[in-house]
Symmetry: C2
Subunit: 439 residues, 2 copies
């Protein structure tokens, strides 16, 4: 046999015509490209969604894991159940009870972060061309999953009270009238990523009632539900609709993301399918990670730790809102989140957040342009600002730099009178309509 | 809003008409149903593929992980790269070098076990109706993945030297003539699961040459490559075809499965797509698991540990072959594996392994019926016997019980003269043909 070179040297992709159709929807996200930039030490990154886990008690965690290896090593390092470790699933029901959910551990499926839960739910429900309803804007990682399964996203308007019931009804009616099949409503009711908005208590039963009437399953993604600043955790949609909601939770923000442990709570019939999908995808979620988290939950005041996280994030939220109030041009608009990691900021007319980003990075501040959070190119005049990771001082410095960049853009715009980029703002007819717009 | 019950009480699946078409291919495997049975302590399980990790030095592993938490906790518990931890990817290239592979760490993608690598590769290549070529028999977990992506499996015959080149050519020709698109050849060249066979050195360049000529990508799944009993590790197919092979490796059998760390080594263009698929599926593989394995590889004589595993598994292979020689009816046939975990046993004509299983379990021994390893119902007269997990004494006892069950079946068969089950043996025309059959 002819000797071949030791490593790949092709510069063109020899497989270009062999990939599955779904790969057309798999493209590098705007957030991904930013990670490299934002990691440079001189840049204040208001872009990423990394939790600040420096407050975790490393001695407690290290001790719990060391004990785990010595006392249960052969189990913790072995294959486990495709559904997840039973003891951890019990503990997960305790966590969910804080948001009013009464659940059976038998209906919990452990996943590789709640990202994998979004993937598995989409896998079992969505054929190409099916429709998923999403808030406008919505989580970039979920939009990527829907795209990768060739599902089409129809966005539904939000206002400062969250998803607007009338707009949801209108979107359902229009989508059904177009002969399309809606598989589920994907929603982040609490401390929304990226909008920073929480669905009001008054609207929750209305959203549930609309979905029940229309026969639409709800996928409730709730990674931030326990990270409210001012009050008790909001009651989960799932708490009032066990058969109509798949609830997704995660330890990534309330403990640490590096273990990649999230979960789905689903009606029994759906749960059975999720377990089969999980076995096909990974055989089983990481046993060691699950037992490490279980040990942490058993041996530590995890609710106290979450309280400490909430206070830390509230201080950072206050730093960001204070800096925005003090430093931003009056023509910018933003909301004041009551929990979570994010502020949604809208620029004055004519300023394009995506086009401005390279200039912002030159000024040593980073954010995520709003277009990342829409399936259709909307969001050009908005951005997501994260206050989770930088210190309060750095948040203020980042906002100061950003304000300077925006002011310079506004001056340019006033001088030349044109948009700073040629990207047109176009919405699909699916969710065109009135309603207070958060963008 | 009307008060609803606190937990799901539906007995019928209200979502039955809403699932994606691919869920029709997601069914509980025969192995899965067996796990519950085989875990009963009185049963000698020759069914599962769990590695025996009792030989791992728990003090070394525990110490390495404890140090990891204290010295690098905030990094190990944080989100990481979608492609995997760079240092671990470098170490993975060292591992692969033992099988002749010279690779760049930039072309390695870490996965949640190599099961997830099979899933991600199938995701980026297979549209519904595409064909995957597989050995006959093949790994049950891979067959499940192909089914879940609605790909069709065409089996290719093996003999005691592994995949038969002439049969591969014939399968390719017949499949192409039928107007079907072949996306890749999935092969386990070393210490095959479930057949226990290793592809001969003489055939390897011939398989590579056929696939290069026909433009068929090879997916080389090699979890057992370093677990040979008698000689140096076989040279990987990838070692001689960097552009034509995606190589899958795993730490599940050479270290421990509970961390769920495997990998894919792929040509650069494919690797880029795999990273996007991984980000969509999980954001990133478990950072903590990866850094734990990296620490283990850095601080421990991992090659010495693999040598100890090889000796332990050789002893168990010897126990199984010795017991089969001593105790099995002469009409049974089996092979002598030179590595890995499995022996493939074929029953006398007329005895059905699947139908016999409940009687075997009653006699306190479990195995996996051969049908699990075929996409088309073949394999009725065969079974997979695992020697990886039970002790040599238990292996002998398990074989003794199994021999008794088979003898009783043979007596029944001689008395009544019919097959013990009515499952017909049917092959599709795609791979019907001559060739020494391992079943």
């Amino acid at each position: 046999m002819e000797k071949q070179p030791a490593r790949s040297t092709s510069r063109l992709d020899p497989y270009v015509d062999r990939y599955a159709a779904r790969t057309a929807g798999m493209t590098a996200s705007e957030i991904r490209a930013l990670f490299a930039v934002a990691s440079r030490p001189e840049v204040v990154s208001l872009a990423g969604g990394m939790p600040n886990i420096s407050g975790l008690p490393l001695d407690v965690v290290g001790g719990a894991i060391s004990d785990l290896v010595h006392e249960h090593g052969p189990v913790a390092m072995q294959y486990g159940s495709g559904q997840g470790v039973p003891e951890l699933r019990e503990q997960i029901t305790d966590v969910m009870r804080l948001q009013g959910i009464e659940a059976d551990a038998a209906d919990v499926v452990v996943t590789v972060g709640s990202q994998q839960a979004v993937d598995l739910v989409t896998r079992i429900f969505c054929d190409p061309g099916d429709v998923v309803l999403c808030e406008a804007p919505s989580y970039v990682g979920a939009l990527g999953v829907f795209r990768s399964y060739q599902a089409d996203v129809v966005h539904v308007e939000m206002d400062s009270d969250g998803l607007i019931p009338e707009m949801l009804e209108q979107a359902i009616t229009a989508t059904k009238a177009a002969g399309r099949t809606i598989k589920f409503l994907y929603t982040i009711p609490n401390f929304h990523n990226p909008a920073g908005i929480t669905l009001s208590a008054e609207r929750r039963p209305r959203i549930l009632e609309i979905c029940r009437r229309e026969g639409i399953l709800i996928l409730e993604d709730d990674p931030y539900g326990l990270l409210g600043f001012d009050s008790e955790p909001p009651r989960a949609l799932r708490a009032d609709s066990p058969d109509g909601v798949i609830y997704l939770g995660s330890f990534s923000k309330t403990f640490a993301p590096g273990f990649r442990v999230g979960w789905a709570l689903a009606p029994a019939s759906v749960r059975e399918k999720l377990v089969l999908a999980q076995e096909s995808a990974t055989l089983c979620p990481p046993q060691f990670s699950q037992m490490a988290i279980s040990a942490y939950l058993s041996n530590h005041d995890w609710e106290g730790q979450i309280k400490a996280f909430r206070e830390m994030y509230r201080e950072r939220r206050d730093a960001m809102i204070g800096a925005l109030d003090d430093l931003m041009p009056a023509a910018c608009q933003w909301n004041v989140p009551t929990g979570g990691f994010y502020v949604w900021l809208t620029l004055p007319p004519g300023i394009n957040a995506k086009a401005m980003l390279p200039r912002a990075v030159t000024a040593r501040v980073a954010y995520v342009p709003g277009t990342a959070f829409f399936a259709d190119g909307y969001g050009t005049s908005s951005m997501r600002l994260s206050f989770c990771y930088p210190t309060p001082e750095n948040i203020r410095e980042g906002v100061r730099r950003l304000a300077g960049v925006i002011e310079a853009e506004m001056e340019l715009h006033q001088t030349f009178g044109t948009d700073t980029a040629s990207i047109p703002v176009i919405r699909t007819k699916d969710y065109d309509g009135p309603g207070t717009d958060v963008r």
